[in-house]
């Protein structure tokens, strides 16, 4: 197919390389799938996700871990993808916003975000949701101080609705429990 400069390309993650070539590559697990990175091991996870895998739900905001737009879960804990060189992620499980929802249902935070309409421009919200997901994992019923401690920035000032969304998700009945 001739190269068309106007063609819109959608995510086509680099397929896992052949086993023989794996020695020189870095094994990564992202959203439950295996990937092998053969580029610069210093590349921050943020740019690997965005430019290589084209998982663009993880946003760039500052590049220095100050805004939280790129928050992902690494082994279940919130981390700033802009601060993590891919070489630090071997044998670790990365979850991005694209991998947060279950197969058939949204994550309770995604549901509560929609219910509370906790969207301004929406750009920071994937990172905000990932940070909240890590919080709820750690503490299923967070108090105000826990929510206050969320470091994510929202330029649109959606904080009150984000707070309400987290509270709603935390009080939502957990599946299987009555």
């Amino acid at each position: 197919m001739p190269d068309n400069p106007f063609r819109r390309t959608k995510p086509e993650p680099v397929p896992p390389v052949a086993a023989s070539a794996r020695e020189k590559t870095l094994p990564l697990r992202i959203n439950g799938k295996a990937f092998f990175h053969n580029g610069d091991p210093e590349m921050p996870l943020l740019w690997y996700l965005r430019d290589v895998l084209r998982l663009t739900g993880t946003k760039y905001g500052c590049g220095i871990g100050a805004c939280g737009a790129c928050t992902v879960l690494v082994d279940g804990k919130a981390e700033h993808a802009c601060m993590l060189p891919v070489k630090s992620l071997a044998q670790r499980e990365v979850t991005t916003i694209e991998g947060l929802a279950g197969k058939d249902a949204l994550h309770p935070l995604q549901e509560s975000w929609i219910a509370e309409d906790a969207i301004g421009c929406g750009y920071c919200q994937p990172g905000m949701i990932m940070a909240a997901a890590a919080l709820l994992k750690r503490k299923p019923h967070p108090d105000d101080a826990d929510i206050d401690a969320l470091p994510n920035l929202c330029r649109c000032g959606t904080y009150p609705r984000v707070r309400a969304a987290i509270a709603r998700a935390a009080s939502a009945p957990v599946e299987g429990k009555k």
Partner: protein, 743 residues
């Protein structure tokens, strides 16, 4: 779709699925056309409604969605008159619509800017677009049933006959598409018939956003686009001196280095904002590593090389001290005489506002492909018509072949009114001959913006022996907003900073506004709140000072000033401002003064037909300001989407709070000092109130945009509350460093 010049109307051709109906405002004659208020000649609206064969109603959203809710709100207007079932409507973002018509170039869909969903043009035009679609569906049903169309009604996606028979829009669409549009606009609904307007509607993109699937401009990819990052000259107006890119070229993944000249000295900023050295690479990381390896020496523009915030502050105060050669903005009565009147008390204070950066969540970015006969741009812009014009100028591609797609944008606050990043991307793509995705880093964004201007205000008031205000003087020394701004060329020097009609203009017999221009090399632009916020901060803090100095209640003082409810001038009814002030005071429980170091503050402002008042309850605990309660009362005419009004009023309040607490751009040695977010602290969760208690008054007046007015009353109310809590009067922003210095 084709444009038949001889018949002066759009012809519907089949598009998409069989039976698809494309409907727009298909006027029969130029005279029928509504005025669109855009920068080009008036044009028809088209393509807002598509009904698929399966009955799905698809509505086109024309505005640039930057978080203000237009992608939800504008389609609601269409859906209302269409009588669609909103819960089943699918909204699709329209690209920028350019049209060559007999009368010249035009905006096919009307105003596609980012102005609120309450724009007066949208209110009429988009309801008409929905009404035309409904009219066609009704005619189609009338033909099918052989009934008189006037006996039919519509509801939630059905045409219904008097005997109860129903036909779904989907079943009528194919035939409706063959009918001629009405000769004149069909009648619009009476407000009592509204089923969608005025009802809460959630963000249409919410699901995509929370799943991380929304593609912002920075998330888009075109062809084999290379990623561009730019090292820009840190000196406003400066230029490249020497460049050694040997090492940068050797970085794996780097394709080439391109030098971008800066704007011409003193010419309007109509292209790039600064000189730069571009690194084009396979991916962002390679581009950044390449940029790190560039060895560049920049030379400053001698005119601005020594700019500093300290010098600006001194110059501003000197201009106000000398008070020579000021531009008179307004002069009612005789303020000088009022000052000399017997038994007159004169009060005066100066307030200082810093430069502000927009720091949008998504920094500027643009993805573009340019060939000799076509351009595709995907970018979060606010002025797509301007971008189209600019791209034509830069590429010479005809405007009808320039395709501008409008993804959801990560915030605006006025930054995206400027298309400098579009110009950069286009020039790079042209020079490199490949599609380009230009990414700005946060450091680029904070140091290269069109900043909210810096200024020092001097307010002086005269009061008679009964403590009634008799005179008011508002003098400003500020960096003019319209400096090198092509769109404001020829406008008075105070444009965008001082509004001759701003409260309390017209309410006092002796009133003057004077402006002193303060030269500075930093580019300036609009920031949420605009002239309203710039001016109201000083005026509303000063009113609070007057009240305390003369032992009057700040609410009563404002009420006395407003006087009897009346139309002071078109767009300003004193009763409506008094109304929101009364609500804010009531909701914060103004009469009940809190103790324990808590303080209440209040402020109000009006303009552009919108009215807002804020009240805060705060305390200072250690080095932190705690906002216990925030109340916002707003009157902006008819409420289209109550949920969005709440969200927007809360957002504008908190953006203003953020700007007030910590934000400032400062200059030293001719350069912006702030590098990244730690130097430009934005409001955090812990500093935000748990809720903003928004109360809206729906007077039924035509809806108007309220963001600027809401942003205007928030900051002074907060500062007034800090005074009530601490007895410390902060007259210089940002608030926190100044408050901690004074405490």
């Amino acid at each position: 779709m084709s444009f038949d010049r001889s018949r002066r109307r759009f012809l519907v051709t089949s598009a998409g699925a069989a039976g698809a109906l494309l409907v727009g405002w298909r006027a029969q004659a130029q005279d029928d056309l509504p005025y669109l208020g855009a920068r080009f000649a008036p044009q028809q609206l088209t393509d807002f409604v598509r009904i698929e064969a399966d009955g799905a109603v698809v509505i086109g959203a024309r505005g640039c969605e930057v978080g203000q809710g237009v992608k939800t709100g504008l389609p609601m207007l269409i859906a209302e008159e269409l009588d669609a079932d909103w819960s089943r409507v699918r909204v699709e973002q329209l690209s920028y619509g350019y049209i060559e018509a007999d009368s010249g170039p035009g905006d096919r869909y009307g105003d596609q800017g980012a102005s609120g969903d309450a724009g007066p043009t949208a209110w009429t035009q988009l309801r008409q677009a929905g009404a035309v679609a409904r009219w066609l569906l009704v005619q189609s049903a009338a033909q099918q049933w052989n009934l008189d169309a006037t006996t039919l009604r519509t509801e939630s996606g059905f045409v219904i006959a008097a005997d109860g028979r129903k036909l779904a829009y989907g079943d009528l669409a194919a035939n409706a598409a063959t009918l001629d549009a009405p000769a004149s606009p069909p009648a619009l609904k009476d407000v009592s018939q509204f089923r969608i307007i005025g009802k809460p509607a959630r963000t249409v993109d919410a699901r995509e956003v929370v799943l991380g699937r929304t593609e912002y401009g920075i998330d888009s990819y075109l062809g084999n686009a290379l990623v561009a990052v730019i090292a820009r000259c840190p000196y406003p107006g400066g230029a490249l001196d020497t460049l050694d890119d040997t090492q940068a070229r050797q970085v794996t993944g780097v394709h080439c280095i391109i030098v971008l000249p800066g704007p011409k000295s003193d010419a309007a900023f109509d292209g790039v904002l600064a000189a730069g050295v571009v690194v084009l690479a396979d991916d962002t990381w390679s581009a950044l590593r390449g940029r790190d390896k560039l060895k560049i020496a920049w030379k400053a523009d001698p005119a601005w090389a020594k700019d500093s915030s300290a010098a600006l502050e001194a110059s501003a105060n000197a201009l106000l001290d000398d008070d020579a050669n000021a531009t008179v903005v307004r002069n009612d009565g005789d303020f000088a005489k009022a000052k000399k009147a017997p038994r007159t008390t004169t009060l005066s204070a100066r307030y200082q506002l810093p430069f502000l950066a927009h720091a949008t969540a998504e920094p500027p970015s643009a993805t573009i492909a340019v060939t000799s006969d076509k351009v595709v741009l995907i970018a979060g812009v606010h002025d797509p018509a301007g971008a189209s014009h600019l791209l034509h100028t830069l590429t010479n591609v005809p405007r009808e072949a320039i395709d501008i797609r409008l993804p959801r944008a990560g915030g605006d606050l006025g930054r995206r009114l400027h298309n400098d990043f579009v110009a950069e991307a286009a020039l790079i793509a042209k020079a490199a001959g490949v599609p380009v995705k230009l990414v700005w880093l946060r450091e680029d964004d904070l140091s290269h913006d069109f900043y909210r201007p810096f200024g020092v205000h001097e307010l002086t008031a005269t009061l008679d022996r009964k403590q009634h205000l008799t005179g008011w003087s508002h003098r400003i020394a500020a960096t003019p907003r319209n400096w090198r701004d092509a769109q404001l060329a020829g406008k008075p020097v105070f444009t965008g900073l001082l509004d001759a009609d701003a409260f309390p203009a017209g309410l006092l017999p002796n009133f003057q506004q004077l402006f002193h221009a303060l030269p500075c090399g930093l580019p300036r632009g609009d920031f949420l709140g605009g002239a309203h916020a710039f001016q109201a901060f000083a005026a509303q803090c000063f009113l609070d000072e007057i009240a305390h100095a003369t032992h009057q209640d700040p609410v009563v003082l404002r009420m006395d000033l407003l006087g009897a409810p009346r139309m002071l001038r078109p767009g300003f009814e004193t009763g409506r401002l008094a109304g929101v002030l009364r609500i804010a005071a009531g909701k914060i429980d103004w009469q009940h003064k809190p103790k324990d170091g808590h303080g209440l503050g209040i402020a109000c402002h009006a303009g552009d037909g919108a009215y807002a008042a804020h009240a805060f309850e705060v305390s200072v605990e250690g080095n932190d300001l705690v906002i216990h309660r925030a109340v916002c009362a707003i009157d902006a005419g008819r409420v289209l989407n109550p949920l969005n009004l709440q969200a927007q009023a809360s957002a504008a309040t908190l953006i203003a709070v953020s700007a007030t607490l910590h934000e400032a751009i400062t200059l030293r040695n001719g350069q912006v000092q702030q590098r990244n977010l730690p130097d430009y602290p934005l409001l955090r969760m812990a500093q935000a109130p748990h809720s903003v208690d928004v109360h809206s008054v729906d007077t039924g007046a035509d809806p108007t945009d309220f963001h600027d007015i809401v942003a205007a009353s928030a900051a002074p109310a907060l500062v007034n509350a800090v005074f009530a809590a601490t007895t410390v009067r902060v007259r210089k922003l940002p608030l926190m460093p100044e408050l901690l210095r004074l405490l």
